[in-house]
Amino acid sequence: MIATSIFGGLLIGLASVCLMLFQGRIAGISSIVYRAIFQLKFESWALTFVIGLVLGPLLVAALNGPAAPVFDLAWWQVALGGLLVGFGSRLGSGCTSGHGVCGISRGSARSVVATLTFMVTGVITVFIMGMVL
C-alpha cells in the first residue's frame, strides 16, 4: 500500500506537470469539471481531460484486473457530501488537486491556507461523525 500510494502520487504529479506543459493550465479537477460541463466553449480540451480521467481507471483494471473501490456510504453522505464539495470547491476556487497538489507546488500561500483549512474541517467532520453515528 505504501509503494502503490507513492507510485499513484507520482502519476498524479506527472499529470499535473503535463497539463501545465501542454495546455498551460492548473490541474484543478473541480475547475476542469466545471468548465467541461458549464463552460466548454472557453476550454474545449476540458471534456477530453474528464473522459481521460474515466479511462485511466479502466486501463488500470484492464492491466491489473478489476478491483473496484468499495462504496458503502449512506445516501445522506452521498448527497450532502456532493453538495458541500461542489459548493465549497467553487467558492474556494479549488479542491484537493488544484490547491493541495498544484497550489502547494507553485508556492501559493492561498493554496497552503486552503489545504490546511479543508484538512482541519475534514478531520473535525470525521471526528464528529465517529461520535454521533
Binding site: L10, G13, F71, T121
Partner: protein, 142 residues
C-alpha cells in the same frame, strides 16, 4: 488535435494515479481524516509524491518556458488574496470531503465503476457548484 490527445492522455494518467494510490476509495480518505481513530496515512504519501514531481517543475522549469506546447499561454490563478471566500469555501469543501470521503477527482474517476452512489455524488456536486455561482461575486472580481 494534439491539445485534445494530450488532454486525454493526461486525464488518463491522473485517473490511473488516483486508482493505483487508492484515493478513489472513500474509506482511505475518511481513514486519513480519522486522526483520532484508525489513521490511514496513505493520502499524505500520495500528496507528497505528487508534490515531489510537480514542485520542481513549477519552481524551476516553468519560469524558463515562454508558452505551453499546445495552448496559447500559461494561465495561473491571478488572485493572491486570502479572503473570506477562500476560507469559507475551503472549510465547506472539507466538511463535504469528510462526510463522503470523496472529492471531484476520485468522483469523476469513479464513473468507471458505474457505481450509483458516484452518480448521485456528482449530481449533488454540480448542483452545489451552481448554487455557489448564485452568490454575489466579490467586488474585487468585478
Amino acid at each position: 488535435m494534439m491539445i485534445y490527445l494530450t488532454a486525454l492522455a493526461t486525464g488518463a494518467m491522473f485517473g490511473a494515479g488516483l486508482v493505483v494510490s487508492g484515493m478513489t476509495d472513500p474509506a482511505n480518505i475518511q481513514g486519513f481524516l480519522d486522526v483520532a481513530g484508525a489513521w490511514r496515512p496513505h493520502l499524505a504519501l500520495v500528496m507528497m509524491a505528487a508534490i515531489a514531481v510537480a514542485l520542481p517543475f513549477f519552481q524551476w522549469v516553468l519560469p524558463r518556458l515562454s508558452k505551453p506546447v499546445y495552448g496559447a499561454s500559461f494561465l495561473a490563478p491571478l488572485s493572491t488574496a486570502i479572503d473570506q471566500r477562500l476560507l469559507l469555501g475551503a472549510a465547506i469543501f472539507g466538511i463535504g470531503w469528510g462526510v463522503s470521503g470523496l472529492c471531484p477527482g476520485p468522483a469523476i474517476a469513479g464513473i468507471a465503476y458505474l457505481e450509483p452512489q458516484i452518480f448521485g455524488f456528482l449530481a449533488a456536486m454540480l448542483i452545489g457548484m451552481r448554487l455557489a455561482d448564485r452568490l454575489p461575486s466579490p467586488s474585487a472580481k468585478a
